[in-house]
């Protein structure tokens, strides 16, 4: 990858890449997981859980101050030596492969349930992975532009439920704090899965044009995501109440899909259409992360060739690892908490080493 001056991200693109990486598929299924634990206070849990991405951004801001031109993969090689650094980075690669495949599986399940029920699983997966890897093979400037454009498209997805607010009732979210601190924190833990992939900031901060702004615009990105997630859980509870939210597999579809519009039966198809951009954005960023890590692992191998080589592997993993939504949720339910802990430890240790060993 070249890092010429005209090939760097602007501040807003940087923030929108972070928004795009975090706010993907989890938007639709998040309310169910959170409300199961925290009932009507689920939206508070979501707001609290944003501590995790904020912490990650602060660490990234700190590391970027010391090594503005090296991403975490290079820094970890400096910290742990070439051998161990590569092993840790390989674990990072596995993490992104799981993210990408699980999101693809969820995407396929949602679309085959609501829109293209005549298409087979493998067809949808093949198309989705091909598109996301194609976007990922572009350089960072183009990915930044795509993130920026899709952010404006995705505003539609966020705003649509406003039109269903007339059917809501304030009694659905009362009493606030009624479930107790313990359950709210339990809900926050479940939200961490949705906030995962904030780690992409470690990979993209070298591409930011103005290196001083990593922390500021990273935080702006995280705050936008926090707002989107909190709003989305809040509006779902507001509309359905805590008892019904947990019955839907993708609860956010209900307030969004029930907006009546003339000619079409309801909003669901338009919603799904605009939402697929959101999913492609997050998939493309996962693909980009895979490409970044792979090029740091085997620098001889061109990253585009690597993406072509990994395509059938991703296809096979997605098809056989996640045959249906139950499998997808079970696997991500086990794997993502491990990744979150791994990322926390990995990033913290690197930050400490940067402070004491390499400064």
């Amino acid at each position: 990858m070249d890092k010429k001056a005209n090939n760097l991200l602007t501040n807003t693109q940087f923030a929108f890449i972070i928004v795009g990486a975090i706010a993907g598929i989890a938007m639709l299924s998040l309310p169910r997981d959170v409300v199961e634990a925290a009932k009507q206070d689920g939206w508070i849990s979501v707001a609290i859980a944003s501590i995790y991405p904020i912490y990650i951004v602060l660490l990234a801001g700190y590391i970027s101050k010391k090594f503005p031109n090296d991403n975490i993969l290079a820094v970890s090689k400096k910290c742990f030596g070439n051998m161990f650094g590569s092993i840790f980075n390989f674990l990072y690669l596995i993490q992104y492969i799981i993210y990408l495949t699980s999101v693809t599986a969820a995407f396929s399940n949602i679309y085959r349930t609501f829109v293209v029920d005549f298409m087979s699983n493998i067809k949808v997966i093949a198309i989705v992975i091909a598109i996301s890897l194609y976007i990922a093979s572009k350089n960072i400037k183009e990915i930044g532009r795509i993130s920026e454009i899709i952010f404006y498209v995705s505003i539609l997805v966020v705003i649509v439920p406003v039109f269903s607010l007339e059917k809501t009732n304030i009694l659905n979210i009362l009493p606030v704090f009624g479930t107790g601190a313990k359950n709210i924190l339990k809900g926050s833990l479940k939200t961490l899965t949705a906030y995962s992939n904030a780690e992409i900031i470690f990979l993209i901060y070298p591409f930011l044009g103005d290196k001083k702004n990593v922390r500021k615009f990273g935080l702006i990105g995280v705050l936008i995501v926090t707002f989107i997630y909190t709003w989305n859980v809040f509006v779902t509870i507001f509309y359905l109440g805590p008892d019904i939210t947990v019955k839907r597999i993708w609860p956010y579809m209900t307030p969004a899909g029930s907006v009546p519009i003339p000619i079409l039966n309801n909003f669901i198809f338009l919603f799904m259409f605009s939402w697929c951009f959101v999913a492609f954005r997050s998939l493309a960023l996962h693909g980009f992360a895979i490409q970044c890590i792979s090029s740091s692992l085997y620098s001889k191998f061109s990253s585009k060739k690597f993406l072509i080589a990994i395509y059938p592997i991703l296809l096979v993993i997605t098809y056989y690892l996640y045959p249906n939504e139950i499998a997808a949720r079970n696997i991500t339910g086990i794997m993502i908490p491990i990744f979150v802990i791994y990322n926390l430890i990995y990033a913290t240790v690197i930050a400490i080493l940067v402070r004491f060993k390499l400064s």
């Binding site: 005549f118 009694l171 659905n172």
Partner: protein
Amino acid sequence: MKKNYRFLIIFIVIAFITAFKAGKEKVPIEEVDMAIGTGVDLENNNEYSLPICVYLFKANSIESDVKVGKSLSIGDTRENRQLKNDKPFVLGGERVHIYSEDFCRSGVRNDMDILFNNPQVVGTPYCLVCKGKSEDIFKTKIKGYDSPVDFIEGLAKNLINNIFFEDNYKLIDMFAKIDSEGRNVSLPYIEIKDDRIQVTGEALFKSDKMVAKINVDEAKWMNILLQGNARGILTIQNTPKKYVNMEAHAKTKTKCLKEEGKYKFIINVDITADRIADEIYKDTALFSKPDTQKKLEGDLSSLVEKNCYDFIKKMQNDYKVDCLELGRVAAAKYGRDTGQDWNDVVSKSDIKVNVKVHLDKLGRGGY
């Protein structure tokens, strides 16, 4: 430039493949059964019979037909229906959903489940309960309508005028109410009377089971007491020739208090009344004596209050259902999931009704 052409060709090829080889054939609407109304009947307490009302398209006119599937479970009726049918059927366009009373009394949960699960089903059809079998309702011929479904949809939609019914009988409301804490479903009750389909009351549900049918008069007072906005007619009558008609707009708000472990509910009904006919108080008195207006408002509020208390007494003693959604208000204030049966709590607690009537428009003038 060369590169762009390559992508254009790839795009066109993909577009052609998806358009012609997507996997499902496209068929005109005449060749599928679009369900416009669905019903659920229960026969002999074990066999489900699901009539589906569909349009038959002809050269110059539209008729409706009823296609029935029978089986021991609801999803299985598709199999039985297909054996007697020449077309596939599609859900998603239904506008009314009619349950027979027998089915409601045995519980509607299994039907809610199959509809909740189906991504093609939308939340917009009106739900109603009928006397006898829903199949008979769908087979009724109504003059001037293509199908009885068109008529029933209009019937359900316009209940909000003149009889204080509220606009919450859609499928999405059923989904939202049945399992929510402190809420209960009530649906309009229709039957065929004098060869016409008409609303004769309201069916009260406890959880997913119908427990009682109330008549239109009771339903009127119940809907005034329900939180929200309702419009209807109030009448004070002394003799056949001496009466007052008022078009009333009732806004209701409910409060809940807890005193010594017992719940107390206060229902504030705020009514804005427009005069439509007045044979008792008369214009001359209304405009010259200020007390007359107060007397009119007082008479109206005592009328509403008396009837509301009568209904509450009946609800607490006979039906034993919290059909006023009071449990919801209490749960929102004093915490959810406390394990209380709100139907039970509401039946035993003290309910107070405050009615305030404001005289608003008087019309053009009394004759």
